[in-house]
């Protein structure tokens, strides 16, 4: 009892606690400062290059004067690949997520797939790139936007699957039973009732999938290594924002380096807004 009321000991415990509180707030400060540092250097170096030319002219050749050229072909290529990749990832991801949530109860195979999906979720993107290279580039003797899109699809399908499963599990069983009581089969209940009720969540999954794929570079440098000129063909090479950053940032050409910052800013804004909107939607639908 004496130990508990010992004022010196109490002071020591209080001091240790104060140190602890300070350290945890400092840790938080470090993370926030890191974010501020990265975002501000993006704005400082990239904002100056955001003008009409950045969206209407193509990537310049080396040695052009500072301020020439833009990223039109890279943006179009990125949109093209992300569009096709998203379409694939959303269709397959929603189907797999539906299988896991609706048909996978107490099913060994479903547990295995769920586990593998979770592992794929954090798998190194460079390995997905190697795989897509072996699968889609080697047989056709060259990369293409389609190969890039396939790599991106493999990368973000697990994200869509995971979100879909989580969101479908949130729907109450009464909803399913009500549908069945109307005489609808299980498949019809899922498609007409459960999917419809989970619409916002499915959109969230798609947005998070988009956020995961749109900034990815590693899988693209093997599958769709870039194109200096404008191209919007799925079967040919196209430019893309991440690969342009990769090629330009490491060059000695000042104009290229400028464009790399602009591209980095554009892509960060796209990814971060997809993330924010997706998570805001998810939060809203969980509350209501």
């Amino acid at each position: 009892m004496a130990r508990l009321t010992d004022p010196a000991r109490y002071a020591r415990r209080k001091a240790a606690n104060a140190v602890f509180v300070t350290l945890t707030s400092l840790a938080t400060l470090v993370a926030v400062l890191a974010l501020v540092a990265i975002l501000s250097s993006l704005l400082v170096n990239g904002l100056g290059g955001i003008n009409l030319a950045a969206f209407t002219t193509d990537t310049p050749g080396g040695g052009e004067p500072l301020g020439t050229g833009g990223l039109r072909n890279a943006m179009v290529g990125s949109l093209l690949m992300c569009g096709v990749g998203m379409a694939l990832a959303v269709v397959i991801g929603i189907l797999v997520g539906t299988y896991l949530a609706e048909y996978g109860e107490g099913n060994r195979l479903a547990s295995a797939i769920r586990f593998l999906n979770d592992v794929l979720l954090s798998a190194p993107s460079i390995l997905i790139g190697l795989f897509a290279y072996e699968l889609f580039v080697v047989p056709f003797h060259g990369g293409s936007a389609l190969a890039g899109a396939a790599a991106l699809a493999i990368l973000s399908t697990p994200v869509v699957t995971r979100t879909t499963e989580d969101i479908l599990r949130l729907q109450s069983n009464q909803l399913r039973e009500a549908g069945m009581a109307l005489g609808a089969g299980k498949g019809l209940v899922i498609r007409a009732i459960i999917w419809r009720a989970s619409r916002t969540g499915l959109v969230t999954g798609a947005l998070l999938g988009f956020a995961r794929m749109s900034g990815e570079t590693a899988p693209l440098i093997f599958t769709n290594a870039g194109n200096q000129f404008f191209a919007a063909k799925l079967t040919g090479l196209t430019a893309s924002l991440p690969v342009s950053i990769y090629n330009f940032a490491l060059s000695a050409d000042e104009n290229w380096r400028r464009l790399a910052w602009v591209a980095a800013l554009v892509i960060s804004v796209a990814v971060l807004s997809a993330n924010i909107i997706g998570r805001a939607l998810a939060r809203g639908s969980k509350q209501s």
Binding site: T28, I113, F115, L130, E134, G185
Partner: protein, 318 residues
């Protein structure tokens, strides 16, 4: 009776609907199998692609640190060690920070502020790898070289351990800065999981501890952290898995040399950065095969780490 039941079932669920159901079930099932086949295919592709190099160099592939495309000799020890060292260093930096952030958000932070800090941490997780790479190369590395590396090198006594630790080209692109950037990248993932874990500690357990007169520090250290121990290890492994396979940021900053790094501030390479750097320009079959074999090594390492992580986290929702 049996017949009339069947008739009833038919009016309730006409055969068309039942067939449609089976079709839809089959569709979902095939998509799930396709996903599984993708992972299997990934492994098969890596084994087939990497086999020539593995067969050619044998166990020496893992122990030799000679990586020379000109003489067609490939030993993976340098990149493998680089991968492990950077990932572990990154975890060493990120783990205390992540625990700190999670504890701060759960225990001390006012709710209004916690919301915004939570968003900031999520944003940190959303920034693309290549943007981290650019920031590391153009902002962090020069700053580090000028304000940390050079002063340390000048202050080091010749022959001392500081000199040994800080040797290397003073340009800021080295193992240490790569690990720092990696730490920032995995930080939000670990912090988010830790936060959820701490929130999962039942309120009455915490309150009982506070009721006994514990300080916040004692509650966190003696009650909350032990309560989430198992899952916490899973969260750490999850972060480690990400750090091991991170590619673009590391490729920008690590300096890309294949020899064993001599010190903390020496340039090095990781498996992922080596593949990213050389794959597009690799011509010889043995060179390509050696790179794919590196990929196989990375696959085995990351997938075992991630698998253990997922088992420990056992279906918590992250």
């Amino acid at each position: 009776m049996a017949q009339s039941l069947t008739a009833m079932a038919d009016t309730i669920a006409p055969r068309r609907v039942v067939r449609g159901d089976a079709l839809f079930h089959g569709l979902c099932f095939s998509a799930a199998v396709l996903l599984m086949a993708t992972l299997a295919g990934l492994l098969v592709a890596l084994v087939i692609g990497g086999w020539p190099a593995l067969a050619h160099f044998g166990p020496g592939f893992f122990t030799s640190s000679v990586w020379n495309p000109v003489t067609d000799e490939y030993g993976a020890a340098g990149p493998i060690v680089g991968t492990l060292v950077t990932a572990l260093l990154a975890m060493l930096v990120a783990l205390p920070l992540a625990v700190g952030i999670a504890v701060f958000l759960v225990e001390f932070c006012p709710a209004a502020l916690a919301h915004w800090v939570g968003i900031a941490v999520e944003l940190l997780a959303g920034i693309p790898s290549i943007v981290y790479g650019m920031w590391g190369l153009f902002v962090l590395a020069p700053w580090f070289a000028e304000h940390v590396q050079m002063p340390l090198m000048l202050a080091a006594t010749p022959g001392g351990w500081i000199e040994w630790l800080t040797q290397g080209v003073p340009n800021g692109t080295n193992i240490f800065t790569a690990s720092l950037v990696l730490a920032i990248m995995v930080l939000p993932f670990i912090a988010t999981v830790f936060r959820e874990l701490l929130l999962s500690v039942p309120g009455h357990v915490r309150e009982a501890a506070y009721g006994m007169g514990c300080t916040s520090f004692e509650v966190v250290r003696a009650i909350m952290l032990p309560y989430v121990r198992r899952s916490a290890i899973g969260a750490v492994m999850l972060g480690l898995g990400r750090a091991l396979g991170e590619t673009m940021a590391v490729t920008f900053i690590i300096g890309n040399s294949h020899a064993f790094p001599k010190g903390l501030f020496d340039s090095g390479s990781t498996i992922a950065s080596t593949i990213a750097n050389e794959f597009a320009e690799a011509n010889g079959t043995l060179h390509i095969s050696a790179l794919v074999a590196l990929g196989l090594v990375l696959f085995v390492i990351t997938f075992s780490v991630l698998a253990v992580a997922r088992m420990l986290l056992a279906r918590e929702k992250f």
